[in-house]
Symmetry: C2
Subunit: 285 residues, 2 copies
């Protein structure tokens, strides 16, 4: 998905939120916004939003002098999610269709996203997401793929959400590799975040090599790319992975909650919708 002009105001909103989370003073917050402003005229609009976010968050890291401004936030949400884990596990186990219930849980976890600039309430979102209608639900092909796949690449998104992903991975029989970002960017999960979430108990964790808040293939490492192109099943979580992979020529199942008007309109669904979308690759979506 390419960047829309509507993403530009949002980059500033995100930058300001991140600068505040990084506890910068007002002058430095302004400096982050100035730096984003400096980037805007250079933005190629055929780039995806995470490609631009790359520079935005670089500006934040440099202005804050912090390598990982969202570290505390990430830890906080992992803790919170771990507290919810036993109850969610029970819900999934007792569901008529445990796989579908776990899909819902995993999508609910996608609300833990500091890249959108809106406030959120995890527990409220969980309640809603367990009963919400899907705007797109390609469940049968997903269930069939999950049943058949020997190896599965699961591309993670945010820290904390990773605990919810673990619940879905527990429903998958094949070997799962869980890919995380390579360096800190927004509150996206790193290897340590996935481990702290217990994902290492159910999957092998690798770095995708990506330093952007999405899987930009040209920035991913060989190990990841080899799995991406060759594994039986690819599951990609969240907006950032959708934005970077929606034009890629292979089958991908996207699981996300649409949290901004731009992505909703790109997919053609109402805002705040949840989807399990089978992207067929090529022109076949």
């Amino acid at each position: 998905m390419k960047t829309y002009l509507d993403c530009i105001p949002c980059f500033f909103k995100q930058g300001l939120l991140a600068a505040r989370i990084a506890k910068l003073n007002k002058e430095d917050q302004k400096r982050v916004l100035d730096e984003i402003a400096r980037i805007i005229p250079e933005i190629p609009l055929n780039a995806s939003p995470p490609e631009i976010a790359l520079d935005v968050y670089k500006a934040i890291r440099e202005s804050s002098g912090l390598d990982d401004p969202f570290k505390e936030i990430k830890e906080k949400y992992i803790e919170l999610a771990l507290q919810l884990y036993p109850e969610l596990r029970e819900i999934v186990d007792n569901a008529d269709d445990s796989l579908l219930a776990a899909v819902r849980v995993a999508i609910a976890g996608n609300i833990i996203d500091f890249g959108v600039g809106n406030e959120f309430d995890i527990e409220e979102t969980l309640k809603e997401t367990m009963v919400d209608e899907f705007a797109i639900l390609d469940y049968e092909p997903f269930r069939d793929s999950v049943k058949k796949a020997k190896n599965i690449l699961y591309i993670g998104d945010n820290a904390g959400e990773t605990v919810f992903d673990r619940l879905l991975i527990e429903q998958i029989e094949g070997d799962v590799v869980f890919a995380v970002r390579d360096v800190p960017v927004i509150n996206d999960a790193l290897k340590e975040d996935a481990e702290r979430s217990g994902v290492d108990k159910v999957a092998r964790i690798i770095s995708s090599g990506s330093d952007a808040p999405g899987a930009i293939l040209s920035r991913c490492n060989e190990e990841f790319l080899s799995m991406f192109w060759n594994f039986d099943l690819v599951i990609a979580k969240g907006q950032g992975n959708y934005e970077t992979l929606s034009d890629v020529d292979r089958e991908i199942f996207f699981l996300l909650k649409a949290k901004c008007p731009v992505i909703s309109s790109d997919i053609g669904i109402p805002e705040k919708s949840i989807i399990l979308l089978r992207h067929r690759g090529g022109d076949k979506r």
Copy 2:
């Protein structure tokens, strides 16, 4: 009121909305955003938002080649408001307190604001505003001032809203001068808009001299300034006039609907509130 950092993302949102209303193509829309980006690092944060909006809308005018990109929008909303006028007049006339009812009508009209970037529904807003609780209602001093004042300066805001202002001015016995912006900026009312709204039937219309979406005193003309400092009563409509006059040392009654989180927090009221605020001037607010 000074500009907050939160205003910066909003300048881009406004610029994009305006560029689309001006029917610019995507490349030119991007050029408007680039131009706003160019301005950001130069923004002095002790300036008020309208002082910055001045440059933002200048960029839009230059990129669009249109002197008044909102011309059609303004005409449309004046027509719409004129259609509502007879019904509103009846509501005001039949109210127990016609002045207060007219204040509510005038504030409801303040929703016709293309400088905020949100969608709105006039008729819905009217219904709400006729019964909403005021977050601030300095009604007694206002009523007393209206009763006593021989000359009143009424600083208008948006085109269309002007029809609603007319209903309030009809309740005022003293001589009213209605001030409008000097040049097209967003959908702010010009002389022709006030006339088309029938304000000329109840007030003398003058230009404030301001080319910003608010009354920046240092950019206003002598006629306006003389009235501003010497008239018995000053009524200022809308966010832009609040933003430019909230630190000025004279009594002003601000009538507005708070349409953005920044102004709501500056005034200390919940978002979407309506207020009739007596600003005493000096440190006495």
